[in-house]
């Protein structure tokens, strides 16, 4: 398998890698320690491995790492930490949108992609935006509320409290 060097920027940190041509972005990210990118199916069916690639939501299992050469990847950890969470992450926790949590990083990133494009989405737009991310625990109700809550907080500007 031919290996050629690539440069991958993950959550602002640069990685220079030599990779097999068939290595998926999902497996490379996990190998690098970004285990918040979850492996749920490796077929693009579940959305657990979703990341932002140059700001666009992708299933990292369907992207070859080579395709990400020179591009920027953001994972859930890149949005915030336990001490300094992103308002979307806080909203998920506050709204009861997190149960087992395995789908949550992907859901958070799908929400980020949505709210970047549509700061005040309708319920239909929220459901549509999350339709590629499966959740088996919540029934989606509280996730949709979390997206709404995050949107409100972000529009209010402080990102911490609802207006």
């Amino acid at each position: 398998m031919s290996e050629r060097p690539i440069r991958l920027c993950v959550n602002g940190r640069m990685h220079e890698l030599r990779l097999a041509a068939n290595a998926t972005l999902l497996l490379v990210l996990r190998e690098l320690g970004y285990t918040d990118v979850k492996n749920g199916c490796e077929k693009g069916d579940c959305g657990a491995c979703a990341v932002l690639l140059d700001g666009v939501l992708v299933n990292s299992c369907l992207v070859l790492a080579q395709q990400a050469d020179g591009r920027s990847v953001v994972t859930a950890r890149g949005l915030g930490t336990i001490d300094d969470p992103h308002p979307i992450q806080t909203a998920f926790a506050d709204a009861g949108a997190v149960q087992c949590g395995y789908c949550t990083p992907g859901m958070v990133l799908a929400t980020k992609a949505l709210l970047d494009a549509r700061p005040d989405p309708t319920d239909g737009e929220i459901r549509e935006a999350l339709s590629g991310n499966l959740c088996r625990c919540t029934g989606y109700g509280q996730i949709i509320e979390a997206v709404r809550l995050a949107a409100e907080r972000l529009r209010a500007g402080d990102g911490k409290e609802a207006p």
Partner: protein, 779 residues
């Protein structure tokens, strides 16, 4: 007709400070920022990667298994076959519990050496330096199989000349109920309604495939970090490997969904064998396809109800037959069948009842626990049957149920007395009322409404002598630590325990920390199954915290020279009641306790009620500690041209006894409903002659964010449960009523019933055709 909610009886819940509040779950933010470690995220230095070689066919004799080419591949460290571990058996039963219903000799071999009995059965294990090498080694294993006739239908499996899956016959379990005098009861009936209902295999489809890592430590203890609902499988692993139980440690992680399937052993024994053979850490993560292929499914059932009723709607007698597909190995089938049997007649008084249940072994995927544990299958049948009775009598469905609902003090089909509140009419009327005004029929939509009531146990079978332990302590700065072996499978198990301890010790939730799911250092709490953790471990934490509280009160009483009864713990302080200025910070009190030698920690053991078991001939006796009651109602639109069903409204009402965390309870209700709606309308793990036809999430469809509206959750709190603060359980019950509610709504819309799940457009069109043929009506 408008349904008014039935008024609730007068009741009073004591005011609480932490319990009952919609607090942010302690595990939520860590998961949202991606900081939570799941089993597949655990890695170790010098770690090997494992793969499992599995049978490609459902029934065959192994003629030749040659792993030499795999062993010779550079980078392959170890290949194990059944011949290397001939004694390794997987006891497919509940560890750490007394009582055993499994037939001798029915344990699964860890690795099949002679016969394979289901497609996907493990045959060999590989450990290699990289995952890629392990995958390449799989392809180098040579296997010659001599096909054996299989049996792929539980009915056929019971025929005298059927191929034997194992043992003397294919009967995995039987249960019988003989209550009252069936012939007498039937003789009092004005009408007998007989119908047969069927439900399919269903896959748990949690987002996290099974995973774990194992290593042998410097004491020779096999350590396994794994996604499991049952850390007590350290006993199962020890037995399979012939090790003392104190030489296996299972440490769980946060589990990415369980729903019953991580109740069985998954990767643990494979990992232990490979770690012992290689003396290196070994990691095994299932692919999605392997997760589907290698783990349990919900049991398919065929259930026939023959119900005698009077013209005014009273049930006089019922005869119920159940046949379940156990698949290739028993796993928890005997208990699932017992649950279905014990709940077969539903939450109704039936004085004259016969139930005959049997589970048969086949060469299909094995079946075991799945949220509800036989309850959802039973409920689909008994609640469909109640509507069929109502229709046959020309009485409305609520009236028929109202006449027959169990009440507190009544007995179930097994003669077990209902001791807690049985708010059946209260929950049903609220669920129905919550649907609001009925949507009118349209040119291409026929509107239907239906509801279903249910009862579902919480807590383990009482003759298993279930126990849980928890340790609670206060640190010298007044912060609280809980140690409890509870596996958290995402339902908020650990959070509830923290809220309970916070309540008793008078601290805010964020002053608590909990350590969980480690068989070596956290007190054993039993399984996160059977809707038992809040009830069992909640009571254990409550007891332990109360002992610690008493210590703190005694110390404060001594300091102030007042009676301990006058002291309260509140917001991190000990205070004298009525004298808010007299208060001591918990930290100071903790240091005083340290100085006087008063214990500030306690290990408590909570024992469930123990019983002797049911009479094997009559099935009479107590099976469970208590029951949760509730109902769900739905409104849907059916397109008679395409058969498509559009769910319009859904509402569920459950008496949870006491909501320890209302946000978490709502999550259980809405999420459980969603799984139940999937069961009703789309989910079927299709199997053809033992081979899965829906092997990935692209074929096996589960509900997405766009499929169904949210279920409105109406939570009642009777305070009569036997969990902490009067709590009942809601994890499993939340799923149970959804499917029969949908089936009843579809029957309401079409005027014709679909008797088998899932209710697909094809079945709707076939049902409409059937009705046209029967009535000569136009579509």
């Amino acid at each position: 007709m408008t349904i008014e909610p039935k008024p609730l009886p007068e009741y009073h819940l004591p005011p609480l400070r932490q319990v009952g509040r919609p607090l942010r779950r302690i595990d939520a933010l860590g998961k949202a920022v991606g900081a939570t470690v799941y089993a597949a995220d655990v890695s170790m230095t010098d770690m090997l990667h494992a793969k499992v070689f599995r049978s490609p066919v459902p029934s065959a004799r192994i003629v030749r298994l040659d792993v030499s080419k795999a062993r010779a591949l550079p980078g392959v460290t170890c290949v194990l076959t059944g011949h290397d571990v001939p004694e390794a058996k997987l006891a497919t039963d509940m560890p750490g519990q007394t009582g055993r219903e499994q037939r001798t000799g029915s344990d699964a071999p860890v690795l099949a050496a002679d016969i394979v009995r289901f497609c996907g059965e493990p045959i060999a294990l590989i450990a290699a330096e990289t995952l890629e090498i392990a995958e390449r080694a799989l392809e180098r294993i040579e296997l010659d199989l001599d096909p054996l006739p299989g049996v792929f239908d539980p009915h056929a499996a019971l025929a005298p000349n059927a191929p034997r899956v194992y043992g003397e016959d294919n009967v995995v379990a039987r249960w019988t109920i003989r209550k009252g005098d069936l012939a007498f009861g039937m003789s009092r009936a004005d009408l007998v309604v007989e119908r047969t209902y069927r439900v399919p295999f269903v896959e748990h489809a949690y987002l996290e495939p099974e995973a774990g890592t194992a290593w042998v430590d410097d004491q020779g203890v096999v350590n396994i970090r794994v996604a499991t609902q049952v850390v007590e499988h350290f006993r199962t692993v020890a037995r399979a490997l012939g090790l003392p139980e104190n030489r296996v440690r299972v440490r769980g992680t946060m589990v990415g969904g369980g729903f019953g399937s991580k109740e069985d052993v998954t990767v643990e024994i494979f990992l232990a064998l490979l770690a012992r053979a290689t003396h290196r850490p070994v990691k095994l993560v299932y692919t999605r396809e392997e997760s589907f292929l290698a783990t349990a499914k919900r049991h398919p059932f065929t259930i026939t109800h023959r119900t005698g009723v009077t013209a005014d709607g009273r049930i006089t007698a019922a005869r119920i037959e159940m046949l379940a597909d156990a698949g290739a190995y028993p796993y928890l089938t005997p208990y699932v069948l017992l649950y279905a049997t014990g709940m077969a007649a539903g939450p109704y008084r039936v004085d004259h009842l016969h139930v005959d249940s049997v589970a048969a072994a086949t060469n299909q995927p094995f079946t075991s626990a799945f949220r509800g544990f036989g309850g959802p299958q039973a409920a689909f049948a008994y609640e469909s049957q109640m509507d069929e009775i109502a229709k046959a009598l020309g009485i409305d469905p609520l009236t028929v149920r109202r006449i027959n609902y169990l009440r507190t003090g009544d007995t179930t089909g097994t003669g077990q007395e209902i001791r807690s509140a049985a708010w059946l009419e209260e929950t049903a009327t609220r669920a129905i009322a919550a649907l609001g005004g009925r949507t009118p029929d349209g040119p291409r939509q026929r509107i239907g409404r239906g509801f279903a009531s249910y009862f579902q146990s919480y807590g383990r079978i009482t003759w298993f002598h279930d126990t849980s332990r928890a340790w609670v302590g206060v640190e010298q700065d007044g912060s609280v630590v809980i140690r409890c072996g509870v596996p958290d499978i995402g339902a908020g198990q650990s959070n509830s325990l923290c809220q309970i301890a916070a309540e008793v010790l008078g601290v805010p939730l964020d002053r608590t920390t909990i350590y969980t799911t480690d068989s070596a250092v956290t007190p054993l709490a039993g399984t996160s199954t059977a809707t038992r953790q809040l009830y069992m471990s909640g009571n254990a934490v409550l007891q332990a915290a109360q002992v610690v509280r008493q210590s703190l009160l005694m110390e404060a009483a001594a300091a102030w020279g007042v009676e301990p009864g006058r002291i309260d713990l509140f917001d991190g302080f000990a205070v004298v009641s009525g004298e808010p200025t007299r208060r001591i910070p918990l930290a100071e009190l903790a240091r005083r306790c340290a100085a006087t030698g008063r214990a500030l920690s306690h290990l408590a053991q909570f024992n469930a009620p123990f019983t002797d078991g049911i009479d094997p001939e009559t099935g009479q006796g107590d099976i469970w500690p208590d029951f949760t009651f509730g109902a769900q109602a739905v409104e849907l639109a059916v397109d008679p041209e395409t058969g498509e069903i559009d769910l319009l409204k859904s509402a569920a009402c459950h008496d949870v006894g006491r909501a320890i965390n209302p946000v978490a309870v709502r999550g259980q209700v809405v999420g459980g409903s969603h799984q139940g709606l999937g069961y009703a309308l789309m989910e079927e793990y299709a199997v053809a002659h033992g081979v899965a036809r829906t092997p990935t999430l692209a074929e096996y469809l589960i509900p997405t964010s766009c499929d169904y509206p949210d279920t409105a959750a109406i939570v009642l709190e009777s305070g009569t449960g036997i969990g902490p603060f009067g709590a009942k359980g809601i994890g499993e019950p939340a799923l149970t009523p959804a499917a029969p509610a949908v089936a009843n709504a579809v029957a309401d819309a079409l005027g014709v019933r679909i008797h088998d799940l899932p209710i697909t457009p094809e079945k709707v069109l076939a049902a409409l055709d059937r009705r046209r043929t029967e009535t000569g009506a136009e579509r």
